[in-house]
Structures are given as structure tokens and as C-alpha cells.
């Protein structure tokens, strides 16, 4: 039996009996908002607005087959076992698979930050000076400086500060602008204006365009990826077994509202053809404000959207890297240097190493056209790797129900076997559809695309974690696995 297997049952402490010695409690509402900021934003709204009324279907179907299984299953797991995905998979499958799952979750973030922070750069450019949107220097400076400032915040404040900033950011930058957009949209229709996109029953489903429609529908499953990510912070709640499921249900409702309503409202105002490929959500807000003669709000909303993006960035910065730290400390999967934490329990060296990689990627993205042109492909590959993690999570949940039916859980998901089955099929479908060449791959050579994506997934999802497992040394295990997330 490996060292990780020999641990205690890793149960989440019962209400009022917190074990982890942490000074930084977070509330369930803050955790819910952190989850919202991890998953939902206004950023994809203009892209989805192109589909008009059908965007409702395009978000509701994935919610049924992917969001509900993910949210309910992770709520049950987090209410029974602390530590997040790595812990669940360790207990449910094996310690090695626990590490692989943590790696799959973490790998996505490597390429995510330059993409997210380039959006921050282009949002700022829209308001300050539009020509900056084409500037590599501007993009690189924003990505690199924001990343390192985020690391500094995480190091100095720990999860308590991150939770407060993230929940404030999602409130200011997603919920309030989203609500404003909905109010303006309803006012627009109430004034007797026609919707730019037809809103009849015939348009409830997206137009059938063969494989393009299948790609569109199935790709959107991954819109809800990340619902489980903040479970790694479960021990920062006062009553984890009760509060995590509560936070998850609230987050689920908010995510649905945020993803569905804004694109619908944008499609009322702006014809699909006018939604530029390059100007994104800021142009959409600007156009809506222009109608009401309140364009002075555009810079304020711009800053709010930046705040929401930074909130999402901070939650992703603190979650998967924490998961990787825990699994490394308890299983000895990474050299001790990577396992160093500061007095707040923050993974200093993992964040620093990640920062170096992010800095290099940002420079390549900003200054090497071949890299910026192909960056979407890195995102495709890492999303597929992230989706692999769900296969292990659902499998672990099924195993844990069988093997440890009496293990105390604050919440038991109904029809768990069915939910896990649906989750596995949805995740597998979303992984498979990632091999269909999209718009960005003009070559049209399906074989080449499959080879590129397949190689990337194999390398990032299989070769690297297997190498780390193979190179692992018992002396690298620096802490006794307890299932808690305290600092070393």
C-alpha cells in the first residue's frame, strides 16, 4: 500500500469540528461566488449572441447532461472527503490516479492565463485607446504584470483575501453588469422595438448544419468546466459538509443565469453580422448604452469586466496549484522545492515556476505571430486534458459509493450511478468532438488536426504525468497525508 493509501479516511470534519488549523475562514457565499467567477463570465456572451434564441438551448442542454452531474457529484464528494479532486480520485481509484487527476486539472491553467489576461488587455484597450488592441507590447505588459501582481496578492493575503476579492469581483463585474444588461434589454423590448434576432419558437433550436451543429452543441458542454475546482478549499468553510453543497447549488443557479441571459439580450440589440470577431463584449455593451444615450457608462463597465476577469484569474491561480501542492506533499510526486509554502500556506514555488512559464508564453503569444495564431489550439488541447479529469472524478464517485457507502457525507446526490454515467458520456463526447477541425483550422486536413490534438493530449495528459510518477522519490514526500489543506 502506498503512503497515500495508508491515510485516515479523509472525511470532511463534521459541523463545528473543524480540524485544519487555518486562520482564514471563508463563507459559503464567498465560495459560491468564487465558483461562479471560475466558471461564468460575460466574455463569451457576444459569441453566443450570434445564435439568438438558440443560445438558451445551447446552454440548457449542457447544463442537464454535464453541469448537473458535475455539481451534484462534486457536492457529495466534497461533503465527504476534503482536499478536492486529487483526494476523491486517490480514495476512489488510486493514489497515482489522484495525482493524474490533479495534473489534468492543473495542466489547463498553464495556457489559460495568457488567454484570459489578453482579454483584460483588449478590454482596457477598447476604452483607453483602441489601437492598443493590436499591440504586442501592450498585451505582453498586461499579461505579465497582472499575473505577477496576482501571485503577490495570493502570497501576501492567502485564500481569505483571494476569496474576498474574487467574490467582490464577480459581483461588481459579472452580476451587476449582467443585471443591468437584462434590465436595458427588457426596457428596449417594452418600448416596442423589434428584436434583432427572431425570437419565435422556430428559433429555439440552432439551425441544423450537420457536423458544425454537433460540434457547437457538444463543445458547449465544457462551458461548465470548473464547478468542482474550489472544492480544494472546502476545509476553509466552518461547516464544510453542509456549506459546500449549499454554495454549489447557489453557484449552479447563478452560472446558468449569467451564461444564458446576457447573450440573449445582446441578440435583441445587435444583428449577428455586426457582432465583430474582434471587439467582443465591450462593443456589445457600448452599442446597448449608445441606444439609451448612456455611453458614459462604457468605461465603468469596462473596469467592472476587468475586475470580474481578475476575480476568475485569482480563483484559478489559487485552486489547481493548491491541489497539485497537496498531492505532491502527500504522495511525493514532485521535488520538495515545488512543495514549499509560505506562512499563509500558499504554494510559493509552484506559483513562481508557473509564473516563469506564463511569462514566456505571454511573450511568445504577443510577439510571435505563429504562436498567437495557434494559441487556440493549445486551449483546445488543454480543455480536452481537463475533461479527462471528469472521467476519473465520476468513476471515483461511483467507486466510493460502493466501497464506502457508510462514510459520512453531508450531502448524497440522488441517482448517483445515473449522474456519473451521464457525466462520463458527456465528458467523453466533449473530448471526442475536440478532434473535429474547427473554423480556425483552415487547412481542412482532418487527419493533421487529429494528429496535432492527439499528440498534444497524449503528451500533456499521459506522458508528463507518467514521467512525474516514474521519477517520483519516497524522500519527496514531505508531509503525512491527512486530507487537510494546511500549510507545510
Amino acid at each position: 500500500m502506498s503512503s497515500v493509501e495508508s491515510v485516515s479516511d479523509g472525511a470532511v470534519p463534521a459541523a463545528g469540528s473543524r480540524v485544519a488549523a487555518s486562520p482564514n475562514y471563508i463563507t459559503w457565499a464567498a465560495l459560491a461566488l468564487m465558483t461562479v467567477s471560475s466558471v461564468a463570465s460575460l466574455r463569451p456572451a457576444p459569441t453566443m449572441a450570434v445564435y439568438g434564441l438558440a443560445c438558451v438551448f445551447l446552454y440548457v442542454l449542457p447544463a442537464i447532461v454535464f453541469l448537473i452531474p458535475t455539481a451534484l457529484v462534486s457536492a457529495e464528494l466534497a461533503s465527504g472527503w476534503s482536499g478536492g479532486v486529487f483526494r476523491w480520485v486517490t480514495e476512489g481509484i488510486s493514489p497515482r490516479m489522484g495525482f493524474v487527476a490533479a495534473w489534468h486539472q492543473y495542466a489547463m491553467t498553464i495556457f489559460y492565463y495568457p488567454s484570459l489576461l489578453s482579454f483584460v488587455a483588449s478590454t482596457l484597450a477598447y476604452v483607453i485607446y483602441p489601437d492598443l488592441a493590436a499591440s504586442g507590447v501592450w498585451t505582453a505588459v498586461v499579461i505579465i504584470s497582472v499575473y505577477w501582481l496576482g501571485v503577490l496578492l495570493a502570497l501576501r493575503g492567502g485564500i481569505g483575501v483571494i476569496a474576498k476579492l474574487a467574490s467582490s469581483g464577480v459581483l461588481i463585474g459579472t452580476l451587476i453588469p449582467g443585471a443591468l444588461l437584462v434590465v436595458l434589454g427588457i426596457t428596449y423590448l417594452a418600448q416596442g422595438n423589434p428584436s434583432a434576432a427572431p425570437m419565435t419558437a422556430d428559433n429555439l433550436l440552432p439551425a441544423w448544419n450537420g457536423i458544425a451543429s454537433v460540434v457547437l452543441i457538444v463543445s458547449n458542454f465544457c462551458a461548465y468546466s470548473g464547478m468542482e475546482m474550489n472544492a480544494v478549499h472546502v476545509n476553509r468553510l466552518k461547516e464544510p459538509s453542509k456549506e459546500f453543497p449549499k454554495g454549489m447549488f447557489v453557484a449552479m443557479a447563478l452560472v446558468l443565469v449569467i451564461l444564458i441571459l446576457p447573450p440573449l439580450v445582446i441578440s435583441w440589440f445587435i444583428p449577428a453580422e455586426q457582432l465583430s470577431l474582434t471587439a467582443g463584449v465591450m462593443q456589445a455593451f457600448d452599442a446597448v448604452f449608445a441606444y439609451f444615450g448612456i455611453q458614459w457608462l462604457t468605461p465603468i463597465i469596462g473596469l467592472a469586466i476587468v475586475a470580474a476577469s481578475l476575480a476568475g484569474f485569482l480563483t484559478w491561480l489559487s485552486g489547481p496549484s493548491k491541489s497539485l501542492l497537496l498531492v505532491s506533499q502527500q504522495g511525493g510526486f514532485m521535488p520538495p522545492w515545488f512543495q514549499k509554502t509560505n506562512k499563509e500556506g500558499v504554494q510559493v514555488n509552484i506559483l513562481a515556476a508557473q509564473g516563469i512559464v506564463t511569462t514566456i508564453l505571454a511573450l511568445l503569444f504577443a510577439f510571435v505571430p505563429a504562436v498567437s495564431n495557434a494559441y487556440w489550439m493549445f486551449m483546445t488541447i488543454t480543455t480536452s486534458v481537463y475533461l479527462l479529469m471528469y472521467l476519473w472524478m465520476f468513476r471515483a464517485a461511483m467507486n466510493l459509493r460502493k466501497r464506502a457507502p457508510d462514510h459520512p457525507r453531508g450531502y448524497r446526490a440522488p441517482a448517483l450511478g445515473f449522474l456519473c454515467g451521464m457525466g462520463i458520456v458527456s465528458s467523453a463526447a466533449a473530448i471526442m468532438i475536440g478532434f473535429v477541425p474547427p473554423s480556425q483550422f483552415a487547412d481542412g486536413n482532418g487527419g493533421a488536426f487529429v494528429a496535432i490534438v492527439g499528440t498534444g493530449v497524449l503528451l500533456l495528459g499521459l506522458v508528463i504525468p507518467l514521467l512525474l510518477i516514474k521519477l517520483r522519490k519516497p524522500s519527496w514526500q514531505v508531509s503525512t497525508p491527512t486530507g487537510e489543506d494546511g500549510a507545510s
Partner: protein
């Protein structure tokens, strides 16, 4: 905690400063005679191409002004086109996936560039030609 209060004050200060810069730098009055003429030109181009055209030229002028704003700002560079390709993905805040997009959106972009920054038409045309669009 005092240390945390300091962090919140610094973050709040930076955001406030950024807001002031954004409020000062934002182009509020983008609409003028030339902007209206270009808006009408764009609407005509949309109609001739069989696309759904914006109804009110004033609104188009308010947003795109005389220079097309960020639309023209982005298309001229490698990083701009890289970001545009990221905009072509669907999903949520975190995970996004590329799809097979609709041709009409690409056509709309081309017509906008043709109207507001024709000097950037060749590279925009090349960008659109290198996309696999549906319809």
C-alpha cells in the same frame, strides 16, 4: 487583520486610478457627420450583401465612430488576429472550445473593415479566407 486591510486599500486604489484613466481616455463623442456617412455606407453594404443590417445609423456612428474603433485596431496585427481566433470559441469563463462559425459573421467583419479601414482589407481578407466558415 491590518495586513489584509492594506491589501484591500492598495487594490482599491489601483482600481480607482484605472477608472480615472479610463473615464478620461474614453472617446465619448465619436459621432459626427463623417461617422454618420460611414455608418450609412456600412448599412448599405450589409443590405447589399443580404445581411441583417443595423437599423439606426446613429447607433452605429456612436459605436464605430469614423475609424471603426477596436475592430480596425485589432485586425492589423498577429496578436490581434490571435485574440480574434480566441473570440471564435464557445464555452464559459474558463474552458472554451473552437467551433465551426457562421460565414455571415466573417462577412460582417470584412464589410466593417472595408468601410472604416480599407487599408487593412488585404490582411483581413486573408484572415477570413483562412477560416473554415459555415454557410
Amino acid at each position: 487583520m491590518k495586513g489584509n486591510r492594506t491589501i484591500y486599500v492598495i487594490v482599491g486604489g489601483v482600481m480607482a486610478l484605472l477608472l480615472v484613466v479610463m473615464l478620461i481616455a474614453f472617446g465619448y463623442n465619436r459621432s459626427n457627420e463623417e461617422a454618420l456617412a460611414k455608418a450609412n455606407q456600412l448599412i448599405t453594404a450589409f443590405e447589399e450583401a443580404g445581411l441583417t443590417a443595423p437599423k439606426d445609423p446613429q447607433r452605429v456612428a456612436d459605436v464605430l465612430g469614423t475609424d471603426g474603433g477596436t475592430v480596425c485596431g485589432s485586425v492589423g496585427s498577429g496578436v490581434g488576429r490571435g485574440i480574434a481566433k480566441l473570440h471564435l470559441m464557445v464555452g464559459g469563463s474558463f474552458a472554451t472550445r473552437p467551433v465551426i462559425n457562421e460565414r455571415r459573421v466573417g462577412t460582417g467583419l470584412l464589410l466593417t473593415v472595408k468601410t472604416y479601414c480599407p487599408d487593412k482589407l488585404p490582411e483581413t481578407q486573408e484572415f477570413i479566407d483562412n477560416l473554415r466558415l459555415n454557410g
